[in-house]
Symmetry: C2
DNA sequence: TAGTGGTCTAGACCACGAA
DNA sequence: TCGTGGTCTAGACCACTAA
């Protein structure tokens, strides 16, 4: 699609599309959009051009066609499965996410981390180890790694709470993640960090994540969750 | 989209689309597809019709247009996050999924199941309890519930291995799921069913799922996984 | 220069839904 | 019956790429 040209020459189907979009913004689902033939006479364009404009909005999920009836504002789709960060997952539960950094430094990537990040063994990576809290309670011990070349200077200032927020600012918000999830018993050092005081063996969740933005691996992490304080909620699928 | 008509009258753009799809199936990424004008003369249709056919394949992610160069087989996109059934998850690991039904009957929905299925308490539901195996090994104990009105007659014949396959046949393939995941220790009866012989407390994964097709809840389930034999692999996000 | 996809026209007939 | 979206035609000019 000649997207780059849009800002230079106003293509007709773009003009129609944006006009309809502005009409439809904020309208209640079910509100009828102008009919195709209406737009044809209004803009003096061919019907195929109008259809091209409306097709784009239908694909976007803004409009819905109903053969024989018309075109209408679609009811908002179920949001697509998002890759949520810990901070966001906690916020969704109405709590504040906090963390204590145990370690934040650059390292030479070992073979495992390098393979997961799709970089060369020995390349410089940032290793960030944190205890993470939700609403004041310790729930998670996390080791995160990312390519130092992807997020340079992160370690120079004060560390952020949310890595994903920083990634988002740089246009690298993860759009895809591959998670592996297992149950296990907490190991002694994990019990300490997670403030587990049971005398019994305590089950924990282990979550390995590879987070990608497009084809770029932006983070790999391993996390241990106190399952008594944190249930993993995941949404999968395409919403339709 | 007049999808229902496709099988009745062979729409021209569908004919062209499926012809191109068959040419392109299995071709290496970068392989050129026939040019639009080639298809025009080959099928004796208008170019807009050919474009409609190719547009569909581009949206599907099968083809890629390169202005001035041509249309090519796209490198496979990261598949969108799918709601995978147990059967599919096991198949992806290269194993055969099997199961033993412990219970399969209709019940009156209790308040919890009714709320999860978005039906009335007391409505008839099917309760299906199974031990599930991957490559011959017992990995999961699952209780599934679904609205008897959504899948009538399921209990009348031999039970299928994959519920999702049955749902797919009826156009009810889940497109969305909400999973809650916790770690826990196996309870005595679960140890029996899962053939756990450790003398130690054994961690297991508990997964609750609500699976939807559009806005219809088609299944709710609770499953207990032997985490030593089965790691949950999940893909999240939109792929791009 | 020749071929490609991107855009656009000015019509047409059809099936379907609502009145 | 009339208006809707779905399909389809037979052309056209453009910008871009590659030879």
């Amino acid at each position: 699609m000649g997207q780059a040209i849009e800002t230079v020459r106003e293509l007709k189907h773009v003009v129609v599309r944006e006009h309809v979009r502005s009409l439809v913004q904020g309208a209640a689902p079910g509100t009828p959009a102008p009919s195709e033939r209406e737009l044809v006479s209004q803009f003096g364009v061919a019907r195929m051009t109008v259809r091209q404009a409306l097709d784009a909005l239908v694909v976007e999920g803004l409009l819905e066609r109903m053969p024989g009836r018309g075109t209408f504002v679609a009811r908002p789709r179920r949001s697509r499965a998002q890759v949520a960060s810990f901070t966001e997952a906690v916020a969704r539960r109405g709590h504040l996410a906090e963390s204590t950094t145990l370690l934040a430094r650059t390292e030479q990537a070992g073979p495992g981390v390098a393979r997961a990040l799709e970089i060369e063994s020995g390349d410089t990576v940032v290793h960030w180890k944190r205890i993470r809290r939700a609403g004041g309670e310790t729930v998670c011990l996390q080791d995160a790694y990312f390519d130092a070349a992807v997020l340079p200077h992160l370690l120079e200032g004060p560390l952020p709470e949310s890595l994903y927020a920083v990634l988002a600012e740089r246009g690298l918000r993860p759009t895809w993640s591959e998670d592996s999830i297992q149950a296990d018993l907490a190991k002694p050092d994990e019990r300490d960090h997670l403030e587990i005081t049971d005398s019994e063996p305590t089950p924990v969740l282990r979550v390995s994540r590879r987070a990608l933005c497009g084809d770029l691996v932006v983070e790999v992490s391993r996390a241990v969750y106190r399952t008594d304080r944190f249930t993993l909620h995941l949404q999968l699928g395409t919403g339709r």
